[in-house]
């Protein structure tokens, strides 16, 4: 295809760990130096490839956590207990370690400031990662509301950064009650109360585990948002 010729192949690039931040007991943000990183759009993801000394390789996909203007590439990875790649990225990788990345990938679950807002972002668990990239990409004149569901306060990723956004962020905890936070799943009531009304024609991005996305996307359509404005990204229990 002509477009492919223009874009060229997405090559594997060497990434080295510049620093890392433990976000929660189960998630870590890796800040990466990537040779020749071409930049990305908020919401896109990358493929990661690890290579063992005997040549064995394993690949997985991870959402990009950083905003497009930050020169570094940041990935926030959740530990999957019986996973193959995430235990390495969350528990083993440290400053100077290297692996490969390929990307950026994906043009559907992505947002450019030029597309405007308002944005309605709904995240479950580590599904908040690509939404955080969108919040970082957002210019001051674009309004946004993030509704983010985590199990407990301890599981809230980017907590300080999100709390600094004030009313733009609504947190709900599904496994504990805390003053100042909603309790329970993201249901129709919370989406009606805290979401952006259909009349404002928000651009909607929903990311999280499959049952979360299934339920939230259905409720949003039931509330009157056109299905074509609800863009979703799901991850299953499979070993990420």
């Amino acid at each position: 295809m002509a477009r492919a010729a223009v874009l060229g192949r997405l090559n594997w690039r060497v990434a080295s760990v510049a620093e890392f931040v433990d976000e929660t007991p189960r998630t870590r943000t890796l800040v990466l130096d990537v040779d020749g990183w071409p930049g990305h759009r908020a919401g896109q993801h990358v493929d990661v490839r690890l290579t063992a000394e005997d040549g064995y390789q394993a690949e997985r996909s991870y959402s990009i956590a950083s905003g497009p203007s930050n020169g570094k590439l940041e990935l926030t990875v959740e530990l999957i207990e019986d996973g193959e790649v995430s235990p390495y990225l969350v528990g083993e990788a440290r400053h100077g370690d290297t692996f490969e990345v390929r990307g950026p990938i994906g043009g559907w679950f992505a947002w450019d400031p030029a597309q405007g807002g308002p944005l309605l972002l709904v995240g479950g668990g580590s599904g908040v990662v690509p939404l955080r990239s969108m919040l970082r990409a957002r210019p001051p004149d674009v309004s946004a509301r993030l509704i983010y569901s985590a199990r407990t306060l301890e599981d809230v990723i980017y907590r300080n950064e999100l709390e600094a956004l004030g009313d733009d962020v609504v947190l709900t905890l599904t496994r504990e009650q805390r003053d100042g936070f909603h309790t329970g799943r993201v249901d129709a009531d919370l989406l009606r109360e805290a979401g952006v009304p259909p009349a404002q024609e928000p651009r909607i991005f929903v990311c999280g585990p499959t049952p979360f996305v299934e339920s939230v996307a259905s409720e949003l359509v039931a509330l009157g948002h056109p299905a074509e404005r609800v863009r979703t990204e799901r991850f299953g229990p499979t070993g990420r």
């Binding site: 193959e84 490969e100 559907w108 299934e214 299905a227």
Partner: protein, 201 residues
């Protein structure tokens, strides 16, 4: 040169035979769901499957008519571009050969269209000759909506996004045109054995 990731050893090596797992894939037992938007729920009494485009005469089946067609049970390995492969998945569906039986066409391509606006493009020769089905059952049960029910394409020799969920028909075309994911950076053909994941692969 490929950098070694210090301290990475990998899980115990795949127990599946190498000739069944394409490069860059890993085997999973569960069945992850991936889709671009809300799951559509078309009532069966409003469902049709249509063959149209470059054909002598379009044809269409209601759900009842479709289910009265001869179907086949097939066991296939499937490979998702997001890296998981699932072996020995069991499907029941109507062969696309059956749907195209007697159709006169000079088309070389098909564009599958679906509820929710999703499309995917394939060469006609990749959906004929016993290579593709419109599947309505998985694991002996009616296909669940989140997995593409009531019926989805099943084209197991290509990456699984080509097996379009919520399929409602095929447009036969003389010229190829990229479908949904194919316009968003994914490979136009999608052969997992050649690791054709993205544009330019």
């Amino acid at each position: 040169m490929t950098p070694i990731s210090r301290g990475f050893r990998g899980r115990s090596r795949p127990d599946a035979p190498a000739d069944r797992v394409p490069p860059g894939q890993y085997v999973t037992d569960d069945f992850p769901v991936l889709s671009a938007g809300p799951t559509p729920h078309t009532p069966l009494d409003q469902w049709t499957f249509t063959i149209e485009g470059e054909v002598d005469e379009p044809r269409s089946w209601t759900w009842e008519e479709f289910r009265a067609l001869p179907s086949e049970q097939v066991t296939k390995d499937i490979h998702c571009v997001t890296k998981w492969s699932k072996l020995d998945t069991q499907w029941e569906g109507v062969s696309i050969d059956t749907l195209l039986d007697g159709v006169e066409t000079e088309a070389d391509y098909v564009l599958a269209f679906c509820d929710g606006g999703y499309t995917t493009n394939l060469p006609l020769e990749d959906v004929t000759g016993g290579k593709a089905w419109v599947a309505f059952a998985y694991g002996g049960e009616p296909l669940e909506a989140e997995h593409g029910g009531p019926a989805r394409l099943l084209v197991p020799h290509l990456y699984f996004w080509k097996s379009a969920k919520w399929a409602r028909g095929l447009t036969l075309r003389n010229e190829d045109a990229p479908g949904f994911w194919e316009q968003y950076g994914y490979h136009n053909y999608g052969d997992p054995w050649r690791e054709q994941r993205y544009w330019g692969d």
